[in-house]
């Protein structure tokens, strides 16, 4: 019992540590791929780590009008995102505390982080903070209904909203071509791009552009506070990539009953898939332009429609009224 407990704790600890460790690398891969495709020199792969370290070693400048909320928000946002990232099954499905939150709770945890960030954006009382916060919350109102439909499709298919349960279901199930799951996948990718403030919703590399959302909210942050917020956004990217991997490409993931050998394979597979996903994101970002803010309802509307179609197809495939 105790030995088992320790091993479980070790696995959970490994995941918490791993998501943190790999997050800057994932962002580095995205940037590197973009640089190569644009035939730029680009930053080295490990630039993310250097950025964080640089920010941590600079002094923090805080606006005169900022309150305690502005100072304490970054560590809370980071902690919430980190916990959420640790709850998504990455290399193994049966981790110690994966059960503590299902998809609904996971989305809500990220929602809490977002609300805090939006509040922090408004704390100093500048127009940029306000513009970022109001747009961020608007995007959330568009993304969350679509997310709910995806969750509903998964719940109909796998009979559970617990991520390990869904992952186990898909590991055990031969990957049949299922139209409804394919549609949910597209919907989830669209939502994930919006949630991570990636192109075409937001451009993570711009400042001083009127369409910016995420960057506008965090404009007043500097030093260690900014480092934490940047790290949280890296983590969020890892989280959504892991979620996509866990739900739609769980092969290689260690099932709940696995031990060290299975975990090692799972770990290698997860890192490979994660970095592969990051590379695909880089390719996607150079091949599409950023959208105007008020075209976003159309963009996220596509996710909503796909999510809805996925559910209808799930009903039909199961036989209506069963």
């Amino acid at each position: 019992m105790t030995g088992d407990f320790l091993i479980q704790l070790l696995a959970q600890g490994t995941q918490m540590f791993m998501v943190l460790l790999i997050a800057p690398l994932t962002v580095g891969v995205v940037r590197r791929v973009k640089a190569i495709l644009m035939r730029r020199q680009g930053a080295p792969l490990l630039q993310g780590y250097r950025d964080l370290s640089k920010l941590l070693h600079k002094e923090s400048v805080i606006a005169d009008s900022a309150s305690w909320l502005f100072r304490s928000a970054p560590s809370l946002i980071f902690a919430l995102t980190w916990v959420a990232a640790a709850l998504v099954p990455s290399f193994a499905s049966g981790l110690m505390f994966n059960w503590a939150a299902d998809v609904v709770a996971l989305v809500a945890l990220l929602g809490a982080a977002r609300a805090l960030l939006a509040l922090a954006g408004m704390d100093v009382g500048t127009s940029f903070g306000g513009i970022g916060s109001s747009r961020e919350m608007m995007i959330a109102t568009l993304a969350e209904p679509a997310m709910m439909l995806i969750v509903l499709t998964l719940a109909i298919a796998a009979g559970t909203t617990r991520l390990p349960g869904v992952a186990d279901f898909f590991i055990g199930q031969p990957i049949a071509v299922r139209v409804s799951l394919a549609l949910s996948l597209i919907a989830l990718i669209i939502v994930a791009l919006a949630e991570n403030a990636r192109i075409p919703v937001d451009n993570p590399t711009t400042h001083l552009e009127l369409t910016m959302v995420h960057e506008a909210m965090i404009l007043e942050y500097s030093g260690r506070h900014l480092a934490l917020i940047e790290a949280a956004s890296y983590l969020k990217l890892v989280l959504y990539l892991s979620l996509l991997i866990c739900l739609f490409a769980p092969f290689g993931m260690a099932p709940a009953t696995a031990s060290f050998g299975g975990w090692a394979i799972g770990l290698v597979a997860w890192v490979a898939k994660l970095l592969g996903g990051a590379a695909l994101l880089g390719v996607w970002e150079v091949s599409i332009a950023k959208m105007r803010v008020f075209r976003l309802p159309d963009y996220l509307g596509v996710a909503f429609v796909f999510g809805f179609l996925a559910i209808l197809l799930a009903f039909l495939s199961r036989g209506v009224g069963q």
């Binding site: 909320l69 980071f78 609904v104 969350e144 007043e220």
Partner: protein, 666 residues
Amino acid sequence: MYLQGAALGALVVAAALAAGLRGTVLAIVYPVAAVAAVVMGVVDLGVLLQGGQLAARLPIGLPTIGGFHLRLDPLSAFFGVVINGGVLAASLYGMGLDRAKDLTPRVEPLFPLFAAAMNLVLLADDAYAFLLSWELMSLASWALVVARHTSVENRRAGHLYLVMAAIGTTALIFAFGGLAGPAGGYAFDTIRAHAPAPMVAVLVLTAALIGCGSKGGLVPLHAWLPLAHPAAPSHVSALMSGVMTKVAIYGFVRITFDLLGPAAWWWALPPIVLGAITAVLGLLYAVFDRDLKRVLAYSTVENVGLIFVALGLALAFRANNQNAAAAVAMAAALLHVLNHSWFKSLLFLGAGAVLHATGRRDLDGLGGLIHRMPRTAVFFLIGALAISALPPLNGFVSEWLLFQSVLAAPAMPQITLNFASPAIGAMLALAAALAAACFVRVYGIAFLGRPRSAEAAHAHEVSLPQQIAMGGLALLCILGGLFGSVIVLGLAPVLTTLVGSGLPNAGTGPTPFSLIAFDAARSIYDAPIIALFVAIASLTTLVVVHRLSERRTRRGPAWDCGFPDPSAATQYTASSFAQPLRRVYGAVAFSARETVVMPPPGDTRPARFSVTLVDFVWTTLYVMPGRAVLRLSERLNALQFLSIRRYLVLMFAALVILLSIATVMT
């Protein structure tokens, strides 16, 4: 029962006494109300936890049914806990009012009366007692709404409220008439024994939906609520919004789940559809409004919608004999009733504190209150995050249960409900996201940023009892979020009486505080574990960052991309925050239009930007019938100025018509 009676008596006596009092002694009603609320709340809690019931009969009321029946069963005991919690918080807040300035004989005597009437509705065990106490509750709250009758706005709110309350009570009279049947068995026991005919049952359901929906603020009967709730003094607003709407929910639950007998599945559709529309529309109203208290009232409309969706789902599951799922939906509804009473009371008390400190309710005149009112700001923040359904606070627990019951809806055999489930799920998710947007906006504009007016810049913290009232509710929001599973366990007797089952696997999770909707393999939410994780993660972060990083912190002017402007007018306002949402949703829901009037070059007048929103519910369902009634009464007005001969002719004609109808009928 004796204790309940004594406490109710104390409230009435306090009201009667206070009616004769003037000046600072009026303050006595608040301690009396607080003690009475504690006594009644403890009795309610006892009945809820131990099961069983208390009953009494008074020798007043309708003689044909043997007097005035009173009964306290687990359902009314649960709502009693909700109500008396709210009354206690409002009374505590009332104790902190400024005795020299804030007390008036128009408010204080009515406060205990209002509290007593709400408790009496829960105790009523026959239709007569129910309607009598319901009307008492309506009238007491109406009088509180028009307490500041000097303002035109409040008088208008009071007028509309009175009309809507009359419509609601009339509908309830029909509902109870249908339930009692031609024999006139108005005691609830008699009603329970005889299930009404299907057609009558549908009429009863409709009437109950109108009667209770109008009191609770179900769209399209919500129009009075955002006018009346803010018009009352803030602690009364807290009672009306946080607690009285729950009495309306109680009425609906009592009639449909207890008195009406077995349901058909399609009865669930009106509450579900109306509830979902109410939830989304209520928030859209809230997110475009600029008055702090009105935003809170609109958000009450939203929450009542959520509760009705949950109740409708429970009704559908129960009709399909899926008792476990019905229990999940019902638990979501009841838990949300409790949670909403806490955070909405907290937010209204917070709004009252802001109003007291600054004298303003308009969001665009506030700002930066987090610096001037640090404690109120913390409490309000907890309330705002809780109502936005964010973990680990209490709003999320009921929201999670509600989502779980929506996720179970595809398992019902009816195609309509199957296909409705994604739509409902999406609307609830939209409502949750809009709630977060709405309360980020309220908090961000009112409490954060820089003060937008001199009043806001010189705000001060409120008195200690008021802080205690808000702090207690904020603590409840946190505890309810962490230990929601324990509360759900406590609800088991109510769930069993209403839907025939409690949560099937409650209390069997990996930890004692795991909330399990159906079974552990399907979904678990363990708030303490998550909170612990977040706490550990933030502490680790703090320690590591503290160790690793540069600790120096400098204060300086805001950066703002290099162009900081010291004027507070350059900040985002409530309207500008709502602009993206207005572009996306306002055009559809309220046909929002933005007009920019630009003076020609050389003209020094400022450019003007204005926004128009059209409230379709108001214009079609209230203004148009109102005009029709007015036109009709102008026509009929001529009847008042006839000669006596003509009146005699009219009377004779009426007599002839009635006699001929009577002959035809027989």
